[in-house]
Symmetry: C2
Subunit: 285 residues, 2 copies
């Protein structure tokens, strides 16, 4: 099933991501409405033409007529919303999301859905250091990766629709992976990197650092400006996996530490060469 121009799309949560989804989809002519917490977000999105209709109320009619509902909420808010309002979803509706952890979320959401409502999980690998619908910008999807995370319960139709959503939003790649594989990848690529940046930033309190710094420190700590409410939630929802990835990094760091301590220049250079070769694959085309 492809995304069609007559499909009613409802976005729940007009933050940075929800707003950027709304921008991309409205730009391409899809009818987008939204439910969100603050009237100011609705007003902004209406003024900027991001949505056709918005409300701070959970309106049963709006939910019933939606073909695709995109939840752009924090994990716990997503679950709470489903607990309170999940019964309003009607058969035939497809639900997707933007949640950064999957293994612990998917079964809980599924258990709260009425019969005939299908949840196909997704994770857009895009964001900014600033939040809120006022910072919405669909250019964050250009060159970025979109992950579709099906389980064996999902239908080919829903998977295809979710993939089509990723392409429609403008992502550079759309991939399918299992919840377990997703959480491993995100534990390494996203959560571990944030752990490293936060640790580095907390490691030294020296007001003169900024006068002496080069770009390497700036780049490495860009993500050290972190939404503590959201990320602490993501870390704890993926705790065992994240601890494993932190162990993995620590082991390699210790190997490099040993080469410095022992003056083992050959082994040090070998690690640097492996690093250089692998990193070359990551430059954006």
């Amino acid at each position: 099933m492809r995304l069609e121009k007559h499909h009613n799309i409802l976005i729940v949560g007009l933050g940075l991501l929800g707003g950027s989804y709304a921008m991309a989809l409205s730009r391409r002519g899809y009818p987008v409405s939204a439910i969100t917490l603050e009237q100011s977000s609705v007003d902004y999105a209406m003024n900027k033409g991001l949505i056709r209709y918005g409300t701070t109320e959970v309106e049963p009619d709006l939910i019933a007529k939606a073909d695709l509902i995109i939840f752009a909420l924090y994990p716990h808010t997503f679950i709470e919303w489903m607990e309170q309002h999940g019964h309003l979803l009607t058969s035939g509706t497809i639900v997707t999301d933007v949640t950064g952890v999957k293994g612990s979320i998917i079964p809980r959401v599924k258990a709260l859905l009425p019969d005939g409502v299908e949840y196909i999980a997704a994770h857009p690998m895009a964001g900014r250091e600033v939040g809120g619908v006022e910072n919405a910008d669909d250019r964050i999807f250009y060159g970025a990766n979109y992950l579709v995370v099906p389980t064996e319960d999902n239908t080919p139709d829903a998977i295809e629709l979710c993939e089509d959503l990723g392409w429609t939003l403008g992502f550079r790649t759309v991939s399918q992976l299992s919840p377990e594989r997703h959480d491993e990848m995100i534990g390494f690529l996203s959560q571990l990197t944030h752990c490293i940046a936060v640790s580095l930033m907390c490691a030294k309190d020296d007001p003169e650092l900024v006068r002496y710094t080069g770009d390497s420190f700036r780049d490495l700590t860009r993500i050290a400006r972190i939404n503590d409410a959201m990320w602490s939630e993501l870390f704890l929802e993926n705790r065992e996996v994240l601890l494993g990835e932190m162990d993995r990094f620590r082991d390699t760091f210790e190997r490099l530490y040993a080469t410095v301590r022992d003056g083992d220049r050959d082994q040090m250079r070998e690690m640097m060469r492996i690093s250089t070769a692998r990193r070359a694959l990551f430059d954006k085309p």
Copy 2:
């Protein structure tokens, strides 16, 4: 003493940094000549107007008439050059450099200088992931920090000249700090960050990472493309300090690890808030 338009400037080593120095200084009307290893680098720099004269020979006359000699070499090459040719330097000449470590280098260079030649150490905190004079670009100095590293042997004249060189090259800040303080700062800001990026890149061998990655991993590992010959040398020249900074990072990483393991969300969020507040100071104006 200020840098004057009649000062003869000699650059030894036309690589990325030497070439970028030449570009900035020639653009501003200073007479720049160069000694470097490869004739092709001389030809390129002459063709592009980066230098007025260049040679692959260590010409005594060229050295004798230089008012300021800038060594843009690897640490061990700098030392070796001084061992072989240092006697050619003439009284009244001021020597500076771009070397990324200071404590272990300064006394060795000083011991090789003839009477009346003054070495004032400096470290431009700028670079690129690509080397060679063909990649020279004086825009790498814009917004960057220039560090002057005097000892008690240096005269106010030489310190002022070196500071003036930093401003003339176009750096955003010029700071003075001691060799010990320099090596500590660089150990933390530059060497530790490269250790982290290399360790992260070596930690997981998975060809699919690139399909799933977000920008945070890309940013964190930009410097994982690393010149292993140069950086292994810098690490080992600053070994004790670097090990101390690696210890410091590891301790903080372990603190964060404990918050994840123990589900201590309050402490985790506190670290994230400290990180966010400190990082805010580092955004370029």
